[in-house]
Symmetry: C2
Subunit: 134 residues, 2 copies
C-alpha cells in the first residue's frame, strides 16, 4: 500500500547556494529544474536512490512557501509518501480520525493525484500523499 | 557514491501518538523500537521502501533532541544520506568548504560510520551521512 518516500521538499532562500551544496559538494545529479509560476516557486529535482530531493525557492513573499520561509527559515518543508491507491489510503486515514488539508485528491497535469495531511494529525510533519499515474 | 535516503528522523512528543498516525493510520510496519539512554531518546524505526522513518522521543529536556523539541516543536529533525565511502564524501565536502559538526566519522556499535554536516552549510537542513558496515 505504501511504496516509498517519493520526495523530501526543502525550502531554500536561493537555488544557486542550495545547489552548491547538494549538487556540487554532495555530487547529486539535477534531473530537472522548473519554474512554477502557479505556485510561485522555482524547483530543482535531485534524485537520491528511489527518492528525490526537491529544492523549493519561493519567488514571492505572499505564497504559502514564501510565508513559510519568512516565518520558519530554510529547512525541510514536507515529506511526500507515494502510495498505491490514494483513495484507499485516505479512507483509512479518515477511519482513524486523521485530518486532511485536501479532502479529495487534487490532480497534477501529468496525472499524479495528491493530497496533504494536516500536520496536526501527523505529529507536526506536513505529509503529502502521491499516487502516480498508472 | 550516494546510495539513498537512509532515514528521515522526526522528533515527537509522544511515541504512542506518533505511532497512531504512522503505524495505525498509515499502515507502516514497525521494524524495531529501542530505548537509547546514551542519547536520551526512545526510537521507533518504520521502513518505507528503501528508507526508514525514525521517530525520536526525547526522554529528558536537556539533551540535544529534548532542547530541539522545546524550542522548535515536533517535526522533521534530520535527513540521513547513505554513502558508499564516508571518507571520500567528507573529503569532497571539505574541498567545497562545507562545515561539518563531526570532523571525523563517529562509529556506532554495529559498525555504521556517521557524521553530521552543519546546517549552515546545507541550507538549514541537518544532514547526517552514513556508511554502513561492509
Amino acid at each position: 500500500m505504501i511504496k516509498r518516500i517519493n520526495h523530501i521538499a526543502i525550502v531554500v532562500e536561493d537555488l544557486d547556494s542550495a545547489l552548491a551544496f547538494w549538487r556540487d559538494a554532495m555530487g547529486l545529479p539535477v534531473a530537472k529544474t522548473e519554474e512554477n509560476p502557479g505556485e510561485n516557486v522555482d524547483i530543482a529535482f535531485l534524485p537520491v536512490g528511489e527518492s528525490e530531493i526537491e529544492l523549493l525557492k519561493p519567488t514571492d513573499t505572499e505564497s504559502g512557501i514564501g510565508k513559510y520561509l519568512a516565518k520558519k527559515g530554510q529547512g525541510m518543508h514536507h515529506m511526500c509518501i507515494e502510495v498505491e491507491d490514494i483513495d484507499a489510503t485516505m479512507q483509512r486515514l479518515a477511519a482513524h480520525g486523521v485530518q486532511m488539508i485536501n479532502d479529495v485528491p487534487r490532480v497534477r497535469e501529468e496525472g499524479t493525484r495528491y493530497a496533504f495531511v494536516h500536520p496536526k494529525s501527523a505529529g507536526g510533519v506536513l505529509v503529502e500523499l502521491y499516487e502516480l499515474p498508472k
